[in-house]
Subunit: 396 residues, 2 copies
Amino acid sequence: MISKKMENMVANSSAIRAMFEEGNRLAKLYGAENVYDFSLGNPNVPAPSAVKKAIAELLEEEDSLVLHGYTNSNAGYEDVRQAVAESLNERFQTAFGAKNIVMTVGAAGGLNVILKTLLDPGDEVIVFAPYFGEYRSYVNNFDGIIVEISPNTKDFQPKLDEFAQKISPKTKAVIINTPNNPTGVVYSEETIQKLAAVMEEKQKEFGTDIYLISDEPYRELAYDGIEVPYLTKYYDNTIVGYSYSKSLSLPGERIGYLVIPDEVAESDTVISAAGVANRILGFVNAPTLQQKIVAKCLNEKTDITYYDKNRETLYNGLRDCGFECIKPQGAFYLFVKSPVEDEKSFCAAAKKYNILIVPGSSFGCPGYVRIAYCVAYETIINSLPKFRELAAEYSN
Amino acid sequence: MISKKMENMVANSSAIRAMFEEGNRLAKLYGAENVYDFSLGNPNVPAPSAVKKAIAELLEEEDSLVLHGYTNSNAGYEDVRQAVAESLNERFQTAFGAKNIVMTVGAAGGLNVILKTLLDPGDEVIVFAPYFGEYRSYVNNFDGIIVEISPNTKDFQPKLDEFAQKISPKTKAVIINTPNNPTGVVYSEETIQKLAAVMEEKQKEFGTDIYLISDEPYRELAYDGIEVPYLTKYYDNTIVGYSYSKSLSLPGERIGYLVIPDEVAESDTVISAAGVANRILGFVNAPTLQQKIVAKCLNEKTDITYYDKNRETLYNGLRDCGFECIKPQGAFYLFVKSPVEDEKSFCAAAKKYNILIVPGSSFGCPGYVRIAYCVAYETIINSLPKFRELAAEYSN
């Protein structure tokens, strides 16, 4: 009935849905306050008050036909793109113009747009495990092939030796995600420089263009003042995908952008094609009110101290229980080593304590679990005794 | 550099972009008030004031985390889907529940979601010329094959004899669009009944499911009290795609829905798959604020008297000039016979009078042109003497 591709997708999706339904079931049985649902990366810090103010202002200032109308370009409002470009230029000493910005339906929309733009069937896209599992679907949408680089569980920086071996004349793109989902690791400048060097060399060797797609929904969620290198400065064929989902807590509103710098090979063609892809994939344009909102809120920040407090408390708490985990430098995830090889059985054991966590297999990294700490602080405090009981099951 | 599929798409898109740029160029040269741009289907009636009110209320009533957060289901907020279902049930005596509604990023998003859900490579999708040209891209996105039924230029109802011949075991879906873009014609109940009968018969003959996809962005734009049949009542395997772009003048906000009735074969599977498709295509969910807005505005209507006045004035004016045209019963387009076979030369001639119109070839129907009358009334009044001069070029 449904397409064969979708049959597989639906089968795979049922695991996530099952977990979500399990959470609801447990909440009904035991009360929501006694369920420790760390499964979803859904921000729990409200949008900055400036968002509300921006909406109120826009309703007064803007003509309804402009505020809610089709944008002249599928890339979005010229003034919004100009404002985004200027904000990036100020922050990262780049030199983008409005034409380099394509407003998108979140980062997920942006990634689909750029993959549609670039991929021919059979083209390879390299990802570094652990990685956001949705990349598999996005690449599959355009009949590309995902090529995984195995995880470096020492510090979760990418394995560049394996990368250099697996990059091939069929490699069209490399996706990186830093700060990383699921590890919270920020790729160091040294990593980026080496990664870029490999890619430069391989482009020359193969006579191809290999695009570095930087998926950056967590850019603003970086702790302890750590710097997240801006990728376009290290490698010419870099395309950035951004989202305001986390930085302004607007995940449901579906607003983000792509940056396609002039330095990208044949950038005018790629920019035009991305606009067309935005249209024909059915996005048409990023939601217009949201475009205008983010343009008014470019200097706003989410309350990162909230996530930071959760991070410290949960990280230290889990370590005290004896769990092994690298301390995340960004995003809102902890990637914890499962005390047993089969991390799915560990997730099942956790569920007995009403703790919901996601197996690392979903991110191409079995043996680990992801704990999303974008939850109420109380949830963390109340979960720690449960984590201790859980840990006790495995100590002997 | 870019994918081969996209190379073709970009080439095709440049014609539309060229027209848009030509409009801007002419407006600069002669002043916007002296350019008669009938090229775009962009509503020019502002959103009802209830939209603004709804936004203000939502900002006060709703928690930011709910208003702007991910929806629990990729299909959208349960309460919004329930409200949409109830509204449809009241208007059309249907029996939909929340589960039958998938909120989408406009109708274009919805069509991509359902085509992704249904199409295997090589599956055929039938369209009746003239038809919205974007269908070609949407079907192509999933490697489907568009099969055109030639236009019936007598009354622009679909040619059902040719349809019965071309429908095949490979036909997975049939897309209809009534009120129609570009003709403004509403398919009669008789047409729908006959169309359904052909499809029923062919399903039995081939032992397949053939889905009728009803693309309905213009449902509420019907004049003279004409009834637009609700398709699910005539054929079980019907899926409706709707958009608030025209009915609430929110085209830029990207908000609409799919209806997947229980009567659809294996409807639960199709509904699940549509949710997954919504997610993996990068939409994730329809913009959340907009979901809540439309739920509050289900009984609101656009000011159809505005479009109706334009329709009457332009239709009568063009007929007075000697042009041939069927009187549209809905939408905001006139589909006018070109006085010469090559309608592109006619469009070029019109441009000399600063009149911008779209060749019928874009809709699979050469020899005709589309005139979008969703413009200021003054534009219509001022354009009529120009149309008269244009007509004079062709009278002899």
